[in-house]
Amino acid sequence: MNDRRKIPEGWDTGAESIDSQDDFKVVGHSPERVDALKLALGKGTYADDVDLDGMLYLKVLWSPHAHAIIKSIDTSKAEAVPGVELILHHGNVSRIPYTTAGQGHPEPSPYDIFIFDRKVRWVGDRVACVAATSERAAARAVELIEVEYELLEPIFDSRRSADEGAPVLHDQPEATGLPDYEKDRNIAAQMLVEHGDMEKAFASADLVLEREYSVPYQAHCCLEPHVALTWLDEDNRLVVRVATQVPFHSRRILARILEIPLNRIRVIKPRIGGGFGGKQEILLEDLPALVTLRTGKPARLMHTRSEEFCSSRTRHPQRLRWKTGVMKDGTIVAQELEVLANTGANGAHALTVQSCTAGKTLPLYDAEAYRFIMKTVYTNLPPGGAFRGYGGPQGFMAMETHMDEVADKLGMDPIAFRRMNVIAPGHDNVLAKSLGEGKEGPPQRIRSNAIQECIDRGAAAIGWERRDSLDRDGPIKRGMGMTCLMHGSGIPGVDMASARIKLNEDGSFNLHVGATDIGTGSDTILSQIAAEALSVPLDKIVIYSSDTDHTPFDTGAYASSTTFISGQSVKKAAEGAGRQLREAALEMWRVHGKEKKLDDLRLEDGHVRAADGDSISYADICLSTFYEHDQHQIQDHGSHMTFECPPPFSAHFCEVEVDTETGGVKLLKYVAAVDCGVAIHPASAEGQTEGGAVTSMGYALSEDYIFDEKGKLLSDSFGDYKQFTALDAPDFETILVKSFEPAGPFGAKSVSEIPADGPGPTIANAIANAIGIRFRDLPITPEKVRRAWLDQQSSGE
């Protein structure tokens, strides 16, 4: 087994290219982001920042019940409110099953939702929608809609949801899912994956450890709520201006459920005020679109903050059971993971989030055999969906806490234990094939991998050697923890992105991308890639993203794909334009009697330069090709899809203080060392790391969905929900570890999601180190810590 560390002959791990990044002029530097000044001045226009004449404002009536049949709706009093123009509900809207999940076609999520249904399935489900000339009139009318419900027994406990006799949520005949869909048992998705001889591997192990973990709901908390504005343009086409991560999926799904031709719809993505997966949903634009189609008037729907919590999407809560077989020397031989996930009332991303729970975690440590057992069940609670990390934060909480527990049992240092098992370059991700997106996935072999260096540098930065001598004498006790992480870059064989570039008379370029900047900085990063490929400064690239009429297709901003997939499409387009520049220069020289060879021409500083010292500027080439000779537009496009999915790697470390008298946990310092290949814009890669990690610090310690006994969410405001603020966020150090990913543009892999995977287990491990108590359930609130401390004291441990 142990040629584990051997790299297969001829396999490019990027190591030889690492130094080439020193030659990059734009990539690998952190120029001013292309949109930053505009945003600092308050001039960025988000979806809601335009005014439309004669606009109708929409308000939705949400279900007050967790599970009920709508027996009747009486809208007569609501219609009498001055200003009310239209009220939509299940009685006057087509019934077409779909999924709100903004995924590629066909979506690997069940079609279990309708624009309006006769049945409501959670407190916060849609009942009706009012369009009126003012928000106040719409809100008043919503209050006057009279609905008669027949209450049904709800099911809230995911552990009982698939039991015989449990209330069934999706009894409608139209709902369909993947082959293993069992709606009559409330099972939205399930999966069993095995690799190797599990029984033999466990039987051979010196030690087998099995533990259970659980992770809660989490809200995205995008500062910009979901919002969509719609209108008809002068050609009677529907224009949808929406805060979305997936404009092209939005257009495709809207065309189907609105029953109008796709070519009659234009989806515009303006600036987006955060997404994190929450805007990878076709969540609200169908309602203003319907109102516009029926009234001919512009329409607008924006969620309130409370609606964001109750009626949009969340991170899937999970219960996880982890079982590891290990030899005395620390070699892992078998890993088994069982996941029971709660998808709430709809199955958006029910299969794929959970398959990523295994796909991002299990392959990190080599074993002879793996097993993954998964079930995602419906309950009468808010629906799960895509959320930064996409199953990773759940899975890593279990795995990386479990690895510490295994190391403890073996009496090994957690770092030493991980080092000897962690996947190395040249190794196959043996689970990749069986954990595809609802079908077989392409095989994966690891190229760039600097996880060992991430561990080294992170440990040095936190001062790991101090771990055994931290102050634990008084009531406030210190501890230190760490975790190792891996993620992915795009969905192999599924994600596709395209870009188009054209030359202007001053030597600048218009770059049109379908990629969607949701705050990640992708407009800047993609511009840098184009600038590097064309050898021009960043300000010579004028980027526009994304509009289904005017930019080419891109699957969207999700799955950590934008830099890796969209970036490669930009590089191809730019290289194509570069080749045309050289060809045009060659022709210009030829008409002046100078014969040169194409291979001797290179692009440098906005010029085509020949080996003999001659040069022509791009501006002169453009003027010539526009007006003088061989007239044409220098322009090109690129599309990119790949079967590779290179994982970024990371090691997280933290030091905490646990106050045993209050149960409070204070984060003193957090270190994230990350191998994202070449960081195209290092300051943005740091920002992604810091932001993603702090989001999950809230997940680890404070954020929670608290429901009353009838399924109503009580923590539905920023005040009650308790995400981290600037006062809670610790001192933070990000270390970008150099590697070079041969499959990525200029050596880049992804960075956006991996930081969200780490804080849960890193903090839990640090708390265990501080007070000797192992928390397996998030969030680790002061109440839980204090109670566990008192229990430990009274049991005399």
């Binding site: 000044l37 949701i518 810091e690």
Partner: protein, 154 residues
């Protein structure tokens, strides 16, 4: 009803309803830099200065601003001459999606007007009322300290 106030240094008279909040009226008048994040006074996206004091404009009635002075993000700087605070947020890459940025910049203005030499703790206190899910606060905190330093040097 009619309200008369000074906005970004200019006197204006605006029509509004008695129940309308200041955010709504500012945005209707084209000052879209003031954002709607929670409309409950929790997130800071709608922060403006009212007579120099930072307030969440989503829970201040427009009528309450009658006769007072309001500073919004648009009153701070321009493309040609950004305010040093705006420059610092840009230079420190403290802006990701940018939705919280106007509120944070306004809060920083209020802080630095009162305390030109803030410590990290002061900065954290100030930004604590400004929810940001993108940046992790590391770079915004740095931006405020950088802005303070630059403004002291001017």
């Amino acid at each position: 009803m009619k309200i008369s106030l000074t906005v970004n240094g200019l006197p204006v008279s605006w029509e509004c309803e008695p129940h309308e909040f200041l955010t709504e009226v500012l945005r209707r008048e084209g000052l879209i830099g003031t954002k709607r994040g929670c409309e409950q006074g929790d997130c800071g996206a709608c922060a403006v200065l009212l007579d120099g004091v930072e307030v969440p404009s989503c829970i201040v009635l427009a009528a309450q601003a009658d006769g007072h002075e309001v500073l919004t993000i648009e009153g701070l700087g321009s493309f040609d001459a950004p305010h040093p605070i705006q420059r610092a947020f840009v230079d420190e890459t403290a802006i990701q999606c940018g939705y919280c940025t106007p509120g944070m910049v306004i809060a920083t203005k209020a802080l630095l007007d009162e305390n030109p030499t803030p410590e990290v703790g002061d900065v954290r206190e100030t930004l604590a009322g400004h929810v940001c899910r993108c940046t992790g606060y590391v770079k915004p905190i740095k931006a405020v300290l950088t802005a303070a330093e630059k403004m002291r040097a001017e």
